[in-house]
Symmetry: C2
Amino acid sequence: MDGEGGQERADERAGEASRPTLKTIAFMTGLGVTTVSRALKDAPDIGEETKKRVRLVARQVGYRPNRAGVRLRTGKTNVISLVLDTEEQVGGFVSDLIYGISEQLAATPYHLIVTPYSRNNDPMEPVRYVVETGSADGIIISRTEPQDARVRYMTERGFPFATHGRTDMGIDHPFHDFDNRAYAVQAVRKLAELGRRRLALLAPPRRLTYHNHMRDGFLEALAEAGLTEAPFTGATVDHSIDDIRGRMTELMSRPNRPDGIVSGSGQATFALVAAVEDVGLTVGKDVDIVSKQSSRLLHLLRPTLYVVNESVRFAGSELARSVLGAIEGKNPKSLQSLSLPTEVEAR
Amino acid sequence: MDGEGGQERADERAGEASRPTLKTIAFMTGLGVTTVSRALKDAPDIGEETKKRVRLVARQVGYRPNRAGVRLRTGKTNVISLVLDTEEQVGGFVSDLIYGISEQLAATPYHLIVTPYSRNNDPMEPVRYVVETGSADGIIISRTEPQDARVRYMTERGFPFATHGRTDMGIDHPFHDFDNRAYAVQAVRKLAELGRRRLALLAPPRRLTYHNHMRDGFLEALAEAGLTEAPFTGATVDHSIDDIRGRMTELMSRPNRPDGIVSGSGQATFALVAAVEDVGLTVGKDVDIVSKQSSRLLHLLRPTLYVVNESVRFAGSELARSVLGAIEGKNPKSLQSLSLPTEVEAR
DNA sequence: ATTGAAAACTGCAACGTTTCAGTTTATCCC
DNA sequence: GGGATAAACTGAAACGTTGCAGTTTTCAAT
């Protein structure tokens, strides 16, 4: 029984009140550092009584494991990396996503780090960085493509991740997605019901998987209702407000202009509405618009719009869940979820 | 001269291709680990020739310092923590802030971690957490108050930080702020110029410093132009869209309703406009509204509004700059910046 | 030749944690 | 009483880095 054995250090002697470590607790309890470590992990080879004592002291002194220590020793970072496109047009989108993720992570030891990239650069780069440097335990990506190099890369390396959006490459991986197909179907049906015959779709860029989903739903419902499409070329939800407004103005100036629009983004719908009115037409009279939105602003200024709400916050929450599951090694199939659109809201 | 001295490890022998460390480079160059470390730091006691060799090899093998190692040894985390209120109403705000910060951090070794808290909880808590656990080298906070406990806390401890918004407690600290006083003055002048006589202000919550700035500017310009105030009670830019709309409806139903509004938030303005129209009035005719906005959507649906743009992305960029300066120990006074409002935009 | 100092390089230890391979003590069985 | 076994605990080593306190080597000044 020593413990007084002459090797206490400066911080133990002085009232320095520096952060307590395992050594601090070991000293206070008279146990070895190993024992304390194992006790806090509830290891089976430590006595019940001892565990209680250690836990008590740990709580008392406000012990929190040093992240760097853990990380260096085990490689576990307790970090989730959210890889983001910084050119994202969809305002507020990222805020909500982050809030949703944070909500889930709050009860865990995980921190959220935001790893941005510019759309002009290689989207692979930030992913490669995180995987190679092991700077996170899991990654969340968005802007998923049908053949997504990032998904292939992370899958090959067994690196845990979750995608916002699905892929189409025969790989089962964790994802959360909004059912854009169902949305488009609902939107078209609503327009059909309103007596609209010729519809245009403002879709996501062709590269992204949900372009296909939305477009498939759109075309299918169009066929089902016997309507025709007014092709909306040269504009996607990714384009700038001004671009969309310009293209839409063109579209609405044509003799065979659409009388119904399905919009894939709330932000873009602002531009669509402005364009409709630029050419002297009226939303709800000359043309009806159904729009997806994540903030709830559209209806305030254009009650004649039809909207469907997508909760990006919920998406964030689900994505965090998924990636945590992936880290735990759960079956990817159990980490996939799809959220259905709300009913079309009118006012 | 050894180096072949029997102590190479498994990863050196096998073609394991695990991440290169200082040891890897030391082995390859035949130098000691310390020398390599110092060489990469461009220390004066290392030969030029050696430095060149080391740098070359380091680049070749793609050496990147292990963050956990550095952090454990030096306490330096290379992390900036953005402390956020997750109930933030101002949509898109956070996205832009993050993009702005990321932009600055991209060229540095810093990572951005988002530390959220709920407005219902103690705003001190996340700050205390970061400072106590040393989980970042610097903190960015928003929602600054005139007497801000967080600012006091971090200042006392000498912890580097920057605030989005100013304080009023005789402490010189790094900040970036939008000149809300100037904004309010401009807004009131514009309304006066339009012949409006009785103005209301939708201000930030009283607790926050910029409430005072905006309100001071508002009152001063009001006096200067000889206008009167229609008190807008029970609503701030922090309230929900529905609350603001409700209060505004009340306000506009009064006999002595305002004929001009200054709005402190673009988001809130949506609700204001909706309310004006709820009671059968018209923006630009019965009442004029000047609004601040960070996204540029307002004008699209209500060209009769007057808007002033605030670049939150720029704010993020400035804040990152400031906090990095604080970490470097620069004089706080040199880390303060104010951005002026743009001209009032009409359409 | 001797001293001194500068230049270039290096071991060792430590940051806090966990894993591994023990050691000690108590308990049980015959 | 001897041996085996289980229970409870432990020191040493390692993860990658850097600061400290050296050690060599070279060279100039005396």
